[in-house]
């Protein structure tokens, strides 16, 4: 089955099969809106908040999404398999680090 993913803060829309992660579907369809990091639940670059819809969560690093955040709908897109249409917000800015440049030192 195919469902539709909407990234609310960028307006990006793409289809995702219900047996694959929404990040894999986004990357495969050359869509953007969620930053692609390790793709394996470790780095947290693809952190999202799910606003509506049902999904299955895979294993991800608790350093990226805590249990209480998970209960509030936070997830990593690389380990999120949709069951229905999803509306999500990409949150990557919350874990961005300083680029190395002249302003890169605290």
């Amino acid at each position: 089955m195919r469902v539709e993913i909407v990234i609310e803060n960028t307006g990006a829309r793409f289809f995702c099969e219900t047996e694959r992660s929404l990040l894999a579907a986004m990357e495969n369809r050359r869509c953007s809106g969620i930053p692609i990091g390790c793709r394996n639940g470790g780095c947290g670059m693809c952190k999202i908040k799910v606003l509506s819809g049902r999904y299955i969560s895979g294993k991800w690093s608790r350093a990226c999404v805590s249990e209480s955040e998970e209960a509030q709908g936070f997830a990593l897109a690389c380990r999120t398999v949709p069951l229905t249409d999803l509306r999500v917000v990409a949150l990557a800015k919350t874990r961005q680090i300083h680029p190395i440049n002249s302003k890169g030192v605290d």
Partner: protein, 310 residues
Amino acid sequence: MAFTGILRPGHIALRVLDLEAAVRHYTDIVGLKETARDGNKRVFLKAWDEHDHHSVVLREADSAGIDYLGWRVDSPETLMRLAADLEKSSLVSHCEWIPAGEHPDTGRRLRFVVPTGHSMEIYAEKGKVGNGMSDTNPEVWPDGLTGMSPSRFDHCLLYGDDLDGVVKLFTEVLGFTIAERVVVGPEQVLMAAFLTCSNKPHDVAFIRQPVKNKLHHVSFFLESWHDVLRAADIITKHRVSHDVGPTRHGLTRGTTVYFFDPSGNRNEVFSGGYIHYPDKPTLTWTDDELARAVFYHDRAIDERFMAAYT
């Protein structure tokens, strides 16, 4: 003996989310050899040309990243001398002795926390299990190699906040030299340091970032550029999560490809570099030329390469 003190990074302990998936990755894809398991959900592995019992430790946990990095020293006397120096240094905290045998076939280790928040260890004894070939009239490589089959665990790159403190510790207490560095702005603030205790361009590197105890990548050594290309073929053949490359670094001159393990820890396999001597001038890169330093051909740094870490 001309080469004394700390000899090499002897083991890195990594946290993984799924132990068996990690073991399959590090054996079938990377090509390390499993040497032991213990009751604490830990698996010990080594690269083919390492003689010591293990160089990589995988532990299943609920987060990815690095547990600790262990440094092999040349003798029990050096271990005692460095332990005394570390215990009185204001640059380290949480010094504790880990008893012999806590790692299989390994002597006692002094564990300590450095200013960037990483746990480090020094130890003098680990069993020699050999590289699969005789020490007398050997062959040049053993049978049964799999995957990318690097010859050794080479170095890692770590992210942390107190770069000045960690560089001071490694150079003034542990005897490292700075092979290369990155400086920023007119004040030439130190942003990255590539530290060596050997003839390698780096045994460990640190980048200043406003975090503690983070891993950028763990790196394994290949013999040739062709091996790097073949490693990239393996990444695609097995649909491994690819990061950057094959390409070359300006920094350290290594030819390289980056990818991620099944828990998101970044791996590198690389070849090349140069011979470092302690009297070699430190190479300095400035921030306006940083992209060429990091990726010599593209002369651009992918956002993911800096922003993804565990």
